[in-house]
């Protein structure tokens, strides 16, 4: 599958790296060259520096042949423009926009755009974790990997000695 990802932030970079690993042809667009440092050294896809909402940049990134365009920048409206351009100007069959405002996300679905809304996803995961525990969230809320430290330092440890000294000094 040929995928274009607009926005190489944490989400964009991680998604690009995973898809690349799975064998998809990935092109990442970002206005900031340094953003591409988030990609792993093994990334075999293409990076394009430029504004992903500009027609020329999308064309240059191969939008005419893309199977999927994902707009994952921090701007809801930018993502909405980028995906609608991909869909209507270049005829990309599937487009996904990251929209952080749930109300706007709903509006854009009615325009034929798939949307992902972190506000909705995070709050759903948190509600599940609250009611049924972290394990029930299918990895969205991670349980701790060890018991937290608690109680007094054990007898004979350096920390115990220091604490004893401190108490003695205070009493003197």
């Amino acid at each position: 599958m040929r995928v274009i990802i607009i926005g190489c932030g944490r989400v964009g970079a991680r998604t690009a790296a995973e898809l690349d690993q799975q064998g998809d042809h990935v092109t990442v667009i970002d206005t900031d060259q340094r953003a591409f440092n988030r990609l792993p050294a093994t990334f075999a896809g293409v990076t394009v520096r430029g504004n992903g909402t500009a027609e020329d940049i999308q064309r240059g990134a191969g939008a005419e042949m893309a199977d999927l365009v994902m707009a994952l920048t921090e701007g809801d409206n930018r993502n909405a423009l980028a995906t609608q351009m991909a869909k209507h100007t270049f005829g990309v069959p599937r487009v996904i926009a990251k929209i952080n405002d749930p109300l706007r996300a709903e509006a854009f679905r009615s325009l034929g755009i798939e949307t992902i809304c972190r506000t909705v996803i995070l709050s759903q995961a948190l509600i599940t974790a609250a009611h049924d525990g972290a394990e029930a969230t299918n990895g969205m809320v991670e349980p701790p990997t060890a018991e937290p430290l608690r109680g007094a330092p054990p007898l004979g440890s350096r920390a115990h000695e220091q604490a004893t000294e401190a108490v003695a000094e205070e009493g003197a």
């Binding site: 909402t53 909405a80 423009l81 609608q84 351009m85 509006a107």
Partner: protein, 219 residues
Amino acid sequence: MYVVVIGGGNVGYHLTKELLAAGHEVVMIEKDPARARAIADELGSIVIPNDGCEGRYQGEAGMGRADVMAAVTGDDEDNLVACQVAKMRFNVPRAIARVNDPKNEKLFRQLAIDDTVSPTKTILGVIEHDIPIHDLLHLAELEGGELQIVEAQLDADAPVVGKELRDLAMPEGSTIAVLLRDGRALLARPETRLLAGDKLLAVTSARGEAELRGLLIGE
């Protein structure tokens, strides 16, 4: 008329002021609270200090009964979304977007924005007017861009100089409407003979444009 203006930059501010002066009812939505306050201090309490892309604030501005909305912020994406929300949720009869990247105009029209205004293209047009160019000058779009009004300036070596209009093999869907000669407008008649220095105003389809250019101006 009831007009909702989105964006209180220089364009939005002067637009609102002019509309008010012309006796229209106007509400402006401006995101930056300080800017919104400054405009409200001058023009009265017609400014909603919030994000004009949000349906909630468009509702507060009375978008449901607006005759026209104009999204004139400096960002194309914000103008697009503001217009789409106004169209989808409030069914506003006329949505106008300011477009900074002229390449976005076509997409915006395709996405049901009624009118687009591109300052970039306007200034480009003015510059083109001042520089002699061997091309058709685009003056206006009709029928959502299907038809163009273009201007052709005839130099002495233009292939059609000395010919009568009825002898021109016009491309299908194109027609010459008016001639400008010595600062006067003449109706284009079949027997009109073309002279060097004439300016022709023609209406042409996008498809016939290249052929028309070849016919009037040459290669």
